[in-house]
């Protein structure tokens, strides 16, 4: 029967959705614990010596140290940008610890050798490092504070020629690839936070998918800030060679602390001819408490280049954490017929501020881009979309579609949209749509009248609002992300 075909899968997905909504409403930030573990840290502050210290700790080759010092030189001449719609006290860059690593044996040969405390930490976060227990087939790289702790499924991936390891290992074992691609998309001079990252970055993930290989599992990195007064500066580099495909996920959490902590990451993606990279983020850094104390300052530069013809890069992000978010995952559409996508849900509650969006730079012919941004603001928060669509003079037949929707909960929060459009080729078609809506008392009452509590009604409404983006997430993440939306907005209506 036809109706069965349509309804049943829909209902199955539904059961899980509802379960998670019920389980998670009324929860607060549950990742706020601190692991008591001895750490090996650099002294506070940032000088050339700090950079030499980091580089030495990581036994880096000379070229890497020089690259860092060059970045540091640029950074010293730069000024912190203040054009975003964000307000925060001045950051004292000399009051931050730039390197912190859990003390453990210098080299871990197998997962069994990981410090049990660390293993417990990741278990508490719902991340299993035990390969045999991973049913869903996600390979994980776990990064705590400044270093990568473990990467799973390495051998299986190795058989296909896929490299999935920490950046530190890549610098040692794959220097040619690193030299060729590192800072090829985000130059060390790109912006203040990118330069800072290049100078002090401690670890991150490295992925290389060889020609014609479809990576058979989701690759994922889990970032965790643990130590106090520490900044986290990770750097991720993903290269999909000709005809390759990879789907990559990243997740992040941090303990609850009263002071702000700085996170300045850089992610670079490179897609060669006919390659595709799908990059998904669920960002849940500690957002600060209800009064706006503490929380992570999240200044991130993410950029991909569709270098080859017919290549595709797709960013999907669910941003619920951080006190401050400054982040614009972008795509340079250089190859002809290449495609860039940006799907975003950004939630701000209490005193959180987010200024996030994307840049789509159309350089090649017949390039396409699609932007879907959903901002949800509650409490006293401020949520801004900032996006640039640029069509270069040689980008014949470029197409862009942008949609920016904002949903407001309450009347003390703000939603802002800053779209920038630059078109230098008259064959381009650029469309922009924007809407702002409020969760209406009518909608809540309608749900109440059907027996649905206000908390569940809000969860249903926001999940409906964000659905188009949530559908882009891999299954394992979609459920986690739905839970996060419900938790982040807990107590914001009613």
């Amino acid at each position: 029967m036809k109706s069965e075909d349509v309804l049943e899968p829909q209902l199955e997905a539904l059961d899980e959705d509802l379960l998670t909504i019920h389980d998670t409403v009324n929860q607060e930030y549950k990742y706020g614990f601190v692991t008591q573990i001895e750490a090996d840290s650099a002294p506070k502050g940032l000088t050339e010596d700090t950079i030499r210290f980091i580089s030495a700790k990581k036994n880096e080759p000379e070229w890497m140290l020089e690259w860092r010092l060059k970045a540091f030189g640029h950074w010293q001449k730069m000024e912190e940008p203040h054009w975003a719609n964000l307000h925060y006290p001045k950051i004292d860059y000399q009051d931050i610890i730039y390197y912190s690593a859990p003390k453990q044996k210098p080299k871990v040969n197998s997962l069994d050798e990981i410090d049990p405390e660390l293993r417990k930490t990741f278990e508490k976060l719902g991340i299993s490092l035990e390969e045999q227990k991973r049913l869903s087939g996600v390979a994980v790289d776990a990064v705590i504070d400044s270093v990568s702790i473990a990467t799973t499924f390495k051998e299986q991936l190795g058989e296909l020629g896929i490299i999935f390891c920490s950046m530190s290992e890549a610098v040692k074992n794959h220097p040619d690839l690193v030299k060729q691609y590192l800072s090829s998309v985000v130059p060390i001079t790109d912006n203040y936070f990118a330069a800072l990252n290049a100078a002090v970055f401690s670890d991150g993930s490295f992925v290389y998918i060889p020609k014609g290989v479809r990576c058979p599992m989701e690759l994922s990195t889990y970032f965790r800030i643990n130590a106090e007064n520490t900044g986290q500066f990770e750097r991720t580099l993903i290269i999909a060679d000709e005809g390759a495909y990879v789907s990559y996920l990243e997740g992040c959490t941090a303990p609850m602390r009263d002071e702000n902590q700085l996170h300045a990451a850089v992610v670079e993606l490179i897609a060669l001819d006919n390659a595709e990279i799908k990059y998904s983020t669920v960002q849940n850094w500690y957002p600060g408490d209800k009064e706006g104390n503490g929380g992570i300052y999240n200044f991130v530069t993410k950029r991909g280049i569709c270098r080859g013809v017919n290549s595709k890069i797709s960013w999907t992000q669910v941003e619920t954490g951080s006190a401050i978010t400054w982040k614009y995952p972008s795509v340079i559409l250089k190859g002809d017929n290449s495609t860039g996508e940006f799907y975003s849900v950004a939630v701000t509650n209490n005193h959180q501020q987010a200024d996030t969006g994307t840049k789509m730079l159309h350089l090649g012919k017949n390039t396409r881009s699609r932007i879907v941004s959903k901002g949800i603001s509650a409490g006293f928060s401020n949520n801004s979309y900032r996006g640039l669509v640029h069509v270069g003079k040689n980008a014949t037949n470029a197409r862009n579609f942008s949609q920016c929707d904002s949903l407001l909960l309450g009347d003390k929060c703000g939603a802002h949209t800053f779209p920038y459009i630059e078109v230098k080729n008259n064959t381009a078609v650029v469309e922009h749509e924007a809407t702002t809506s409020k969760i209406g008392e009518d909608q809540i009452f309608y749900c109440n009248q059907r027996g649905i509590s206000t908390e569940t009604a809000v969860a249903l409404i926001i999940n409906g609002f964000a659905k188009e983006v949530m559908n882009k997430l891999p299954m394992e993440f979609a459920i986690e992300a739905q839970k996060l939306l419900a938790i982040s907005l807990e107590g914001s209506v009613g």
Binding site: V6, L7, L14, R450, G451, N463, G464
Partner: protein, 252 residues
């Protein structure tokens, strides 16, 4: 089942219900009629617990409980259902998902185990046939882009799914053509039984050709000024509401 006693209610500073008395027993269908602005929809909203309305006096007992003490979702759990005059839209939330949440929340309130997908699907099929609703409608976002008739049919479908004790239909016929009214009314008639009751709020007599009431009440200026059987509805249709207004004026 329902006993309304000297009920007063206002919205902002304006008093709208000025002493309503009404008793509804299981198995009965009551129709509330009256001119625009007489307080018909207010009565429906107050019974469902709409927060904009403030009850300033009187009492409402429903199945031996003080209805006014209960939240809107508790009232739904107890078996009150309101078919809205203007059903809201919720983009991105499928109608099926919404109804399943509602059904299971109500079951939870009643201490029953939630339906799993298979049980729910079975119930849905049965009720879909009963109210002649197209299943493609149920896969769409709740009421989004629905025609007036589709929205009302969706209300009746939800009523069928939730199996209320007391169904309040707030101007369910407004804006519908005669075919749509007939389908909606057929649905309501099929759902009637000796254990439940229906309160129809309507401006026109025509709905009562299809759902035949046991009692008709005329609401005017916040009070029930006249009660009778279905014959009263014909009288109103014939003479218009002015005759009620005149009667009231004479009594005063």
């Amino acid at each position: 089942m329902l006993s309304i006693n000297n009920l007063h209610a206002r919205i902002e500073e304006k008093e709208i219900l000025k002493g309503i008395n009404l008793d509804i027993k299981a198995g009965e269908v009551h129709a509330i009629m009256g001119p625009n602005g007489s307080g018909k929809s207010t009565l429906a909203s107050v019974l469902a617990g709409r927060p904009e309305y403030e009850v300033t006096g009187g009492s409402v007992e429903f199945l031996e409980k003080d209805l006014l003490e209960l939240s809107p979702e508790e009232r739904a759990g107890e078996g009150i259902f309101l078919a809205f005059q203007y059903p809201v839209e919720i983009p991105g939330l499928t109608t099926t998902n919404f109804i399943k949440t509602a059904v299971n929340e109500v079951r939870k309130y009643r201490g029953q185990a939630p339906y799993d997908a298979v049980q729910f699907l079975k119930l849905m099929r049965e009720k879909m046939a009963m109210v002649e609703i197209n299943q493609s409608l149920l896969s769409r976002s709740l009421n989004e882009g629905f025609s007036g008739g589709e929205k009302k049919r969706n209300e009746i479908f939800q009523m069928a799914m939730l199996e209320p004790k007391l169904a309040i239909l707030d101007e369910t016929d407004s804006g519908l053509d005669i075919d749509a009214i007939r389908i909606v009314a057929n649905g309501v008639n099929k759902l009637r039984n000796k254990d439940n009751a229906v309160l129809l709020v309507t401006h026109y007599q025509r709905l009562l050709d299809y759902i035949v009431p046991d009692f008709v009440h005329v609401l005017y200026n916040g009070r029930i000024v006249k009660s009778g059987t279905k014959e009263l509805a014909f009288e109103l249709e014939e003479k218009g509401y002015d005759f009620i207004k005149n009667e009231v004026a004479q009594e005063a």
